[in-house]
Point group: D2
Chain length 309, copies 4
């Protein structure tokens, strides 16, 4: 009758190695936009959680880890981030993290899925926490890549690329390529900092992340500093990878004291990306270095990454 086996689940295909069945205690909201289906539901221990196309995106338990990783290293590295661009970032939490820095004068978020963001505004307040109403926010609903092409020279200090994984034949494949990264660079100021979510950082499926690192490293003239890093996202059942690319500042040279100073000056308080933890976040395990050596390749529009289960 009521056993552990019985219940409602959302099944997500991890890789060929496993299918994960997340338990749904309560369905809060379900719908479909032009681009994706969504479920907001209560998962035991995780709390309120968002699924897109039946893949978990974020839960209240540890959304701060993903979103601090998405925003804080890049924001902190820039000595004076005034103008920020978020590509994607539907939940508004990457935006929220960027706005924590009181240096910010304007934060533009470009997310193509207006219906989803409208839903988020009403039903995921724990994520955006009012970020969409911040007077510094400019919210646009259009294709991020195309918008950047049209806004070349916009001089953003920080660009945060919080986009879906590059699934085979999916729309995000061309948002993980050298051409895309160049378009990002072209809307950045001369000392701009770029960060992106780059896929799984587990040993089982690191190919996307290490190829993102290699691709950005391949743009040495544009980005002399490139560093992979990761966050321990329990909701994803795996460490999650990010890459930072920087035109002028070296993330590995940032001292704990300097981070502390910047946080204090800008009014930033974090739960995961803390000054003492900076070094660990940027220290990749050997298996990622092995994977880099074994399987990283430069991703291009003609040979993009094809994420498959």
């Amino acid at each position: 009758m009521s056993s552990e086996a019985t219940g409602m689940f959302i099944a997500e295909t991890h890789t060929s190695a496993a299918i994960w069945h997340y338990r749904v205690e309560k369905m809060i909201l379900e719908g479909k936009t032009k681009y994706q289906t969504y479920q907001i539901c209560e998962v035991p221990r995780f709390g309120k959680s968002l699924f897109l196309d039946y893949n978990i995106q974020t839960s209240l338990m540890d959304e701060y880890i993903f979103h601090e990783c998405m925003s804080q290293p890049a924001m902190t590295l820039h000595p004076n981030p005034k103008k920020v661009l978020v590509c994607g970032g539907g939940e508004g939490a990457t935006l929220r993290e960027a706005l924590k820095h009181n240096t910010v004068e304007s934060a533009t978020m470009v997310d193509i899925d207006e219906e989803l963001v409208d839903m988020v505004k009403d039903h995921m307040k724990e994520w955006h926490q009012g970020a969409f109403e911040d007077p510094r926010t400019i919210l646009l609903h259009t294709d991020a890549r195309q918008w950047m092409v049209e806004n070349k020279g916009a001089n953003f200090d920080v660009v945060l690329s919080d986009l879906p994984n590059p699934h085979e034949d999916g729309p995000a494949q061309f948002l993980f390529t050298e051409e895309y990264f160049q378009i990002c660079a072209d809307v950045m100021s001369e000392d701009g900092v770029f960060a992106m979510q780059a896929g799984s950082a587990n040993e089982n499926y690191p190919e996307c992340m290490v190829s993102c690192i290699k691709t950005l490293e391949n743009m040495k003239d544009t980005f002399p500093y490139v560093a992979g890093y990761y966050g321990l996202v329990s909701t994803f059942f795996q460490p999650w990878g990010f890459v930072l690319a920087s035109k002028k500042y070296d993330p590995l040279a940032l001292a704990v004291e300097e981070i502390e100073k910047r946080f204090a000056a800008r009014g930033v308080k974090n739960r995961y990306y803390t000054p003492r933890y900076h070094q660990s976040v940027f220290t990749l395990p050997e298996y990622l270095i092995e994977a880099y050596n074994r399987s990283a390749r430069v991703l291009t529009d003609s040979e993009p990454f094809a994420w498959t289960a």
Copy 2:
């Protein structure tokens, strides 16, 4: 991304042999009453479906099969059913089937879960089809067994027992016992007909059904005629068992022509329990007879059936 493996499912523990994952295409309504949790959702091929405590109850695809089996053999067998009692039967479809017979002057439904029936009224109209508004209907929300004890001698022509399975330690255990059946008999007229849902009729788990047959057979003075029968309920992934017990009329003696005549006279049209199919419905496969011989026992309040996975 979107594969067969990925999606939302309700997992139901069948027996130790299997867990069934029903795909949920769309959640329509979810809630919790004092007695049970419910989900109404769209299942591919099945259409709108109801789950109680994460066990499927009924789907639009073939609810008519279960509910015709629940009502029609007993209603048809009685030559002039005027007064009918439905114990349980939350969806209102057993009631609907009984009301098809224009001989009926009053149909009393006693279902303890008022919240569920209220929900059904609004959200499962395809099931009750207005049966709750029928002027002949009397709807009560109280314990069916207790109500019958208090209404001994009420002279119902037909009693239909459409109650949950007798799960171990569950509230329905004492609604599948000789004592309960006697209480039913005591509210029936002298030529009354009783029918009940009796659990799975598959070879894997027939113990409940064959014990219900044996228990009713054990009451020969009350019910000289007892017959098991079954319906092919695709939604349950198994044939489903029922038992009919009758004070005066023999279901196996009912001729096709007589059924046709009664249907015509009473304005009854069925999709599953048709005159030509009567005989098949009451012809049990050998494995049920073997199971009866091997494992049937008389169920009593002191040793009730304990349904376990």
Copy 3:
């Protein structure tokens, strides 16, 4: 640690409506032939069971039901079956059932998968029960359709087509077509009887079965008598469909007494297809008749059935 949810399972995609997780208590043998992967394992309540390409085929609990249905109605209908052909039938149990009739002088089984049959000989003795060693048996490993083309005029009294479902793009697609049925007819004697497994007989997925009926009915000159029938196969979680086509004898005209007489004369004892049950087996539920009217079509080599989940 040990809960109902935890364990080993074989997951079978039923249709888009559900995925079934059969519990594997113990793996007995696992392997791969040129044509398919197989697992023999213990399933609780079902006992020893065979899976091919992760779809359950048969279990000790009720293999007799499938195999009696596969063989007995056709064998019984023929007044003197001497020469029998089994197409497919790897487990040897269809053969076993045919050999029960002591009228049989030779039984030819043509199954393309020699490796599987060799495995069955050693590891599934409960199925074949020595049938492969019967002196009347001729066992061939080649393509059944091609073999029949080459053996036109062979004068089999009974042909039993026990072949895999016609999966989209699978090899069995052309073994469920009018052309195939004609090839079968051409190896049959003038009063030959043909029977086939025809897929699910549940309400959810009856399209294959009813199209097989319609296709055989379309060959009225060859087969004046065509009748669908079904068995309650608990292992498959659904009733299973078969079709019988006959050149001279009408299965619906076979009286109980005649069946009894033939069984006695030929030394046949069945557990499922018993004389008293003949009529029920051949009485299709209305939903199959509705499905026939709604969706049956003549299957041909150019437009075969495409079984999809």
Copy 4:
């Protein structure tokens, strides 16, 4: 037919939040000892993997991570580890890692499950790599706690506690308590180092790990230095926690250069616990510190940890 949904899986209940279905490509060996059931199978991407009681234990993909974490920090911290004790450690890989240090003169492994270790010797050579045949190895099959009680004063330089999680009512509950840790201390030399696997280090279920830290910290007179650390075990779908407790040496004071020197002198080469990575391994994320503050408690024989899903 063959879809991602269809196949063989071992389902492991993670917590109430999720059930993980590991895909089994091929079953290599399956059995049951007095203490547990086991499966050795091929999992896609993970390779050969061991499950005990349907919970994954280790896979070839990243067994080195778990086993280096289990052995290397403690072994390296001790300036001259000659005598080592492994409690549990069935696969022989913790033993293998300890033996890498050429300072070792004897390594005693006490694992109660002789049948499992015998199976491992034959079928999991990739794990032990001959460690059981090493002349320095002493292999015993008895209760580790009881054995240590009887061998008080044995003067082990390093004790490695590689035991099952303390499941509710399971035998390992009393191997995660202050009394057990004291028994370990009593078989250690005056400058001995202790390390243990301590359960999940994810945000979802850190209660066991942080309670192990607190319990060992509560023994300040015995263990002045206590440090939690973790490894990124992709096979477990979560970071995994360990605790080191030391009578004399401070793990956090160990410099990269000193680690390099010791590795060189002792002939140690690691893939995960490398000198440069030492610091990261011992730097716990904030969420573990929050969990420690929120929920850690001293575990005792009278109030042990009760691991529940």
